[in-house]
Amino acid sequence: MIPGYEVVERVLALATADETIVIVTDASEASLRWAGNSMTTNGISTSRRWAVASIVRGSAGARVATASSTSIDPAEFESIVRKCEADAREAEPAEDAMPLVSATDPSVDWDLESERTSIDVFAHLSSDLSTGFDGADRLYGFAHHQVETVWLGTSTGVRRRFTQPTGSVEINGKRGDASAWVGAGTKYFDDVSVHGLLAELSTRLDWASKTVELPAGKYETILPSSAAADLMIYLMWTMEGRGAQEGHTALSRPGGTRIGEKLGALPLTLFSDPAHPGLEYSPFLTTASSNNSVSLFDNGLETSRVDWIRDGVVNALAYPRFAAEKYGAPVTVPGDNLVLTGGSDADIHDMVARTERGLLLTTLWYIREVDPATLLLTGLTRDGVYLIENGKVTGAVNNFRFNESPLDLLRRATEAGATIPTLPREWKDWFTRTAMPPLRIPDFHMSSVSAAQ
């Protein structure tokens, strides 16, 4: 397999369109899955996908087409490029056409080969897990490691390379009818303590030795960081400028958008930052297609910190360059991490200790949008709802279906604790890099009881 950077150069050399963008992504993955204290599936995969975008400029505008392929055979490159160029010539002018991003200094690691992972990355984890399998609790879970190397090259001279390691482990433990969950995000598994995770799991299962049935209703609720992350991720995905400007998202308001609107009393800041320590992501944009938030023409654009909400006030919406120009808004590139700050130094135990009566959740599940106008989301509590009485966890409660809007939760939150790295349970297949505080909601809406355990 020829190196990724060479694919970029060969495809660009073949190109005859006015402008060309090439993105090559090499992915190396290892996975391990278990259920009922036994491994179920596993695997090692090595894959490459690459995309070419051909752009034909003319008096009517810029016509563009994109082709992606996993072919590693250089003999096939030309036919893919030619078809893409032919499609571009026949395409309608692109609405989001802009000049391509100009060249900057190439990445210093441009001509290095891709990084790989292997099954050995789980060596310590699998050994510790085997010990856990010998225990009394039934363990289920998944460990995944992916190393992606991306090369971006354009006919305007952009040459950028970035390597993104992404790992996660999650363990679901069951004891009788009780179920609990722990999880962690990581880059290379060297900072993951399975013993620590299993100890936390055991504590939570101990909490469930007493069970309490509670009806649907509004409860003072502490959302741990994982649950907060899942709700804030959905909010960020909704923060695209064009839809808000056109009046059909929850970030719209009569005659405009909610930019500048103060949500609540807490000075919370929700941001994405490619340089955030431990949660770094690509310092430049790559995308094989345009959508409401990003434009193909913006490939290579620098990513930078975006404060979606700053000190409790809606501050930014995503705009590719064309939409930013159209609406007179700042160009804003969506991020691949999400951090919520502005809380106290309190950890979740401190917050539990300050609670007279309320619920402590573990994770949320099957989150779906019910009403785009209010950003009402529904979903379920999962793997541990605990009753807090007089500052202590006194038992496990049945699961609930909730109906809540993350915008409203930010309006109503009365306390945020210390921000910590966390693994979002629901969205981790697409988005793992988050740091969130636990949030206290005085009246979290549990719409109905779920019999699921």
Binding site: N42, S47, K174, A288, S289, E369, R401, N403
Partner: protein, 512 residues
């Protein structure tokens, strides 16, 4: 040796795929696996062509052509699975992938406490199967597709009250070559398309908006599905959406509480998918998905006794239905496609299985539900086309069902969906909700969601529509497993009448 599966199409597998060194690659991988000590090994070449075409307000937002190809090797060594894949289609990479799969199995053997045993299956040597379609979407020029979608968009955009229109069509052609140590060698080709248009009405001064989309389901058909002579009546639907949308945005908010519902198949398919399809997956029922997709209340100890719903409830699983998205000739375990019962007379009577789970259930043969969505993913048990059967005696119409309701709602089209991790508690919304008064429709209401527990809901099904109301719904993107995999699946169902289902007002739920 057997070759019993019926061909659904007179089309053939693309010569370009057949020209690949499929058997040479397989022989290289299987030989290396056997040398490594594998008691079972299977090899797959998997190629996917895709095209995603997206338009917004009549302008093309993106056209992305994709192709993916790779090889996958799965082995059983000392009763433990090992899996490896590679993008390179060379004799060397095939052998290397097999050796890696053996290494993985040996490295993780200490974590395996359940010996892998596969249910036997007849050998299918040189079998070929192609899905039913007329026009290969990848043979249709992109510009022609843009013109069709653009013209459909313009019909909606030009209507009064429609401010924005999104349009998309996803097309997939999937080709696989499977060979195993036992001697089966199977080549298959499937085509599917999913077109969708949505109109949005905005009153910016009032800060109000509503949207409504087409109900044409994704299907295992070709480009003919989008053309004028399609089995879907595009002319009627595109003509009516502006009217329905205008009515919806002005409609009153629903009164919450227990409500009789007549549910159209365009909505009910998704409820079937979530509350029956997933609940009768055997891997979920025994905990394999406990940490992710979830388990099931319908556990194996309840087989034959669980009252799933009303005795009129008859649910089948079918991997042979023409134009079904989960229809195949053979699954990714090399098992021939079948049809069987999941729920009969309201009682749980079956599960969806692969070759590992069949023996664990005490069955001699898998019913063929193994599938991997990519060469880089291991096959797992996935959903067949799970369908609610219409009333076998009375061909009851939607109007007949509506006539049986004094005060209720007729639910049309799917939208939001969510269900818990044991498939008990669900909540669904829809595209349109028509008020029923004294057996007749009386305009739309809005802000509706219905929420229920699975067995209560199916127990409240009083009447099942007849065969003339049956429609095939479905999805391209059913998610399961880790690493995440998607699968396309269809669900056939008639309209049906449910009594006293809990209806929510979504604005009230949001505290508005």
């Amino acid at each position: 040796m057997s070759c019993a599966v019926t061909q659904l199409s007179d089309r053939h597998v693309d010569p370009e795929f057949l020209a690949l060194p499929l058997r040479e690659l397989a022989d290289s991988a299987l030989d290396a696996a056997q040398r490594g000590g594998a008691s079972h090994a299977d090899f797959r070449v998997h190629r996917l062509f895709s095209q995603s075409l997206n338009m917004r307000d009549g302008s093309v937002q993106s056209v992305v052509d994709g192709s993916e190809i790779g090889i996958a090797v799965r082995v059983v060594v000392d009763g433990t699975w090992g899996f490896a894949s590679h993008s390179a289609l060379t004799i060397e990479s095939a052998a290397e992938a097999a050796r890696t799969a053996v290494t993985v199995a040996k490295a993780l053997r200490e974590l395996n406490r359940e010996v892998v045993q596969l249910a036997p299956e007849p050998i299918y040597r040189d079998a070929t199967w192609v899905s039913a379609y007329d026009k290969d979407p990848f043979a249709v020029p992109t510009q022609e597709k843009v013109e069709v979608l653009g013209e459909y968009s313009s019909r909606l955009l030009s209507a009064d009250g429609v401010d924005h229109v999104t349009a998309s069509v996803m097309q997939v052609k999937e080709q696989t070559f499977y060979q195993d140590l036992a001697g089966s060698s199977i080549t298959q080709q499937r085509v599917r398309v999913h077109p969708q248009l949505e109109g949005t009405a905005v009153d910016q001064s009032a800060g109000v908006f509503e949207s409504m989309r087409t109900l044409a389901p994704p299907v295992s058909r070709g480009w003919e599905y989008l053309e004028a002579n399609s089995t879907w009546n595009w002319d009627d639907e595109l003509a009516q959406i502006p009217h329905w949308l205008a009515e919806k945005i002005k409609s009153p908010s629903v009164e919450p509480g227990p409500t009789d519902l007549v549910i159209d198949p365009t909505n009910l398919w998704l409820t079937i998918h979530e509350s029956i399809g997933h609940a009768t997956e055997y891997d979920r029922a025994i905990g394999y998905e406990a940490a992710y997709a979830g388990t099931s209340f319908a556990t194996p100890d309840k087989l034959g006794t669980l009252q799933y719903g009303n005795p009129a409830m008859h649910v089948t699983a079918d991997r042979t239905e023409r134009h079904g998205l989960a229809t195949v000739g053979y699954d990714d375990d090399g098992v021939a496609a079948q049809k069987w019962d999941l729920v009969r007379d309201g009682i749980l009577v079956g599960y969806q299985l692969d070759r590992v789970f069949a023996p664990r259930m005490g069955l001699e043969r898998s019913n063929g539900c193994s599938y991997a969505d990519s060469p880089h993913h291991v096959p797992i048990q996935r959903m067949a086309n799970v369908s609610l059967e219409p009333d076998p005696v009375v061909d009851r119409s939607v109007d007949d069902l509506i006539a049986a309701v004094d005060d209720g709602i007729y639910v049309v089209g799917d939208r939001s969906w969510s269900i818990d991790m044991q498939r008990y508690n669900f909540q669904f919304t829809g595209q349109r909700f028509f008020r029923i008064r004294n057996g007749r429709l009386e305009g739309q209401v809005r802000d509706v969601a219905y929420q229920a527990t699975t067995t209560d809901f199916w127990g409240s099904m009083e009447l099942v529509g007849g065969a003339s109301t049956r429609r095939l719904g479905g999805a391209f993107n059913c998610g399961k497993a880790q690493p995440g995999q998607v699968a396309a699946v269809s669900h056939g169902c008639p309209a049906a009448l449910f009594r006293g289902v809990n209806v929510l007002n979504t604005r009230s739920e949001a505290g508005q």
